[in-house]
């Protein structure tokens, strides 16, 4: 009887069930206001905007990337840098054959689709800035990059904390941040080649060895056609 010690009245239960689910596309007043200010300042530098679970997502032109950061920090009061990272929108290459019954890796869709606020190409840099004061608003910023030679302005002059995040993004995705003080390896060894978080970089552990959970899977009763044990039982 786990809940026996708790004297929960009906009213407290009813209060606790107040919904915390936020509608996917909805924005509250503060977020709408912030979006309006961003649109007023950046104008046609905003390619597209969207919303995801109460967060504003703004996709800006690459040449306005640093200007957006400066505006967010100086005018919108987003003094806090949560992170800078990137997404590779290339579809995940399938590493298991279809129909082989290998469910070790989730099968991702084969066609290229872009997320909230879209994307102009394969690589996209995205960042989240927030405010530690006032209404504690936050905004998701995205920008598109060139597929062949992805590069973008660095945010280090605006947010010094972008330093390590950009170094990480550089080594993981091969995205160059122009104006970064020292793009050096952060996590990986200095002689490391390749960009591990790109979708075309294979997860080598899975390439050289099958998923260990797959090896000792016994067939379910009646599932396997050449079930010799069952045949033997029937014969006797």
């Amino acid at each position: 009887m786990p809940g026996a010690e708790v004297e929960a009245t009906e009213s407290s239960v009813a209060e606790a069930t107040a919904s915390t689910i936020v509608e996917s596309g909805a924005l509250d007043d503060a977020a709408t206001q912030m979006l309006a200010r961003l649109e007023a300042e950046l104008g046609d530098a905003i390619v597209e905007h969207g919303a995801t679970y109460g967060d504003v997502v703004v996709r800006v032109r690459p040449d306005a990337w640093r200007r957006t950061a400066t505006f967010c920090k100086e005018e919108l009061g987003c003094d806090y840098l949560s992170f800078v990272s990137a997404i590779d929108w290339m579809p995940t290459p399938a590493i298991v054959d279809e129909g082989s019954g290998d469910t070790s890796t989730p099968a991702q869709p084969k066609e290229t689709t872009y997320g909230v606020a879209g994307s102009g190409g394969r690589f996209q840099v995205f960042a989240i800035v927030a405010s530690t004061r006032g209404a504690h608003q936050r905004v998701v910023l995205k920008t598109d990059l060139d597929d062949a030679q992805p590069h973008i302005e660095s945010w280090v002059p605006v947010y010094p904390g972008a330093d390590w995040h950009e170094r990480e993004t550089w080594e993981m995705f091969g995205i160059v941040f122009d104006g970064h003080p020292a793009l050096r390896h952060l996590y990986l060894p200095f002689e490391f080649e390749g960009h591990p978080l790109r979708k075309d970089y294979p997860l080598l552990a899975r390439e050289v060895k099958p998923w260990p959970g797959l090896v000792d899977v016994e067939p379910m009763p009646g599932e396997d056609s050449d079930d010799t044990d069952a045949a033997a039982v029937e014969a006797s």
């Binding site: 010690e5 929960a8 606790a16 003094d79 949560s82 992170f83 991702q108 004061r133 997860l203």
Partner: protein, 405 residues
């Protein structure tokens, strides 16, 4: 040890052997000469390699420090010794499998790591955990916060030379870990959250045990206050050491207790998205205006108390009911993006989940607190003395798994 009168001519300004016309004790003269040499000697920069194995680093953080005498000119943290590539691994796993991975990001408060990820998946799926499950999640998150902070409260004393608080910290943390183990079966890696609720309900008699332990925690906080905070040596070692200015800290992404110790009144439990029922209990966000190592200790001490009080309230108010809501047997998360961040013991922990409608995520950006908290180190360590490096490292309080992911 007197040397008599046959001293070599001291190297004083005004020429070798030109002694000033005052009578000086030979011993004193030699000391004076040596002092002079020390000042004039060109001490080149020295590179000191701190780590990768040092008790203050909770793992393998290496600091390459350039020293001028006892002063740090520049410090460069070298990380990545424990990089396990979790962001890549999440792309090859299903949602329920990922909780096992993210348990190991910040291993001192594993339960608190799970909650934002599970909450993100639930938001994308449009599922809501039942109220009782949310209460238990909140309690266990706060318990992991207490366990993490008790270790800090003890260990910070150890780093400035007091060994007693470490024993108290480890002892009391053990009581809290026992509680977590009683519920989840794991002391460090509970893996207890499920999409839509929790694996199990609380065991029989757990609530009264927790009440007793929380009273113990409150008592031990008083003990720490007397033993450490009031200690003049501790104050001398920590006051005005390693100051983080509020605006610079925010621009570096410093979060959690570290930024609250710089006077920023910002706590995601209160100001973030309401994933957990924190608004249904009475509690307070603690801040300290100073921003130094002492302030960080003080804030964490108050937050440990506050968490214990929160747990007591949550147990009293806990609703009855189911702990799992209806969830499809095969978990497929609809297409979408969600950013969920919560107040982890170490700061802001967040997951940006991009789903394409499969059984696993397309991309997960893991925003861990320690990574940003430590990225301010090159700025903070400039100009401090060598022993203060350890104080600053200890007071920032990071876990290497949380930096390296």
């Amino acid at each position: 040890m007197t040397t008599g009168t046959e001293l070599p001519p001291p190297n004083l300004p005004g020429g070798v052997g030109q002694l000033p016309e005052v009578h000086l004790d030979p011993q004193m003269l030699r000391q004076l000469a040596e002092a002079q040499v020390n000042v004039e000697l060109d001490t080149g920069d020295m590179i000191l390699n701190l780590g990768p194995q040092h008790p203050a680093t909770h793992g393998t953080l290496r600091l390459v420090v350039r020293l001028d005498g006892e002063r740090v000119i520049a410090a460069d943290p070298v990380i990545g010794y424990m990089h396990r590539g979790y962001e890549k691994l999440t792309e090859y796993r299903t949602y329920p499998q990922i909780t096992t991975l993210i348990n190991r990001i910040d291993w001192l408060s594993s339960f608190a790591n799970e909650v934002p990820f599970i909450a993100g998946a639930e938001m994308l799926m449009g599922i809501e955990a039942p109220p009782r499950a949310q209460y238990i999640r909140t309690i266990l998150t706060e318990l992991s916060r207490i366990a993490t902070f008790l270790l800090f409260l003890g260990e910070m004393g150890l780093q400035v030379g007091a060994i007693t608080p470490a024993f108290y910290g480890f002892r009391d943390r053990e009581y809290v870990l026992n509680l977590i183990e009683a519920v989840t079966g794991g002391r460090f890696h509970p893996n207890f959250n499920r999409i839509g609720g929790l694996k199990d309900d609380l065991p029989w008699g757990w609530n009264s045990d927790t009440r007793t332990t929380m009273r113990k925690v409150l008592e031990s906080c008083d003990e720490f206050e007397n033993l450490v905070v009031g200690n003049p040596i501790f104050e001398q070692r920590t006051r005005s050491i390693g100051i983080i200015p509020a605006d610079l800290g925010a621009a570096y992404g410093v979060s959690g207790s570290n930024i609250r110790a710089s006077g920023v009144d910002w706590d995601l439990r209160r100001d973030g998205n309401p994933h957990l029922p924190y608004n249904e209990i009475e509690w307070k966000v603690w801040t300290h205006p100073d921003g130094d190592s002492f302030a960080r200790y003080w804030v964490r001490l108050q937050e440990t108390r506050e968490s214990a009080r929160m747990v007591l309230q949550l147990i009293d108010q806990m609703p009855s009911g189911p702990i799992m809501s209806k969830v499809p047997r095969i978990i497929k998360v609809p297409e979408g993006e969600v950013w969920v961040n919560t107040e982890n013991p170490l700061g802001e922990m967040g997951y940006y989940i991009v789903s394409k409608g499969a059984t696993g995520p397309f991309r997960v950006k893991i925003r861990s607190a320690s990574f940003s908290n430590v990225s301010i180190l090159p700025w903070m360590l400039r100009g401090v003395y060598v022993p203060d490096i350890i104080t600053i490292l200890a007071s920032l309080y990071f876990i290497l798994g949380d930096i390296d992911r």
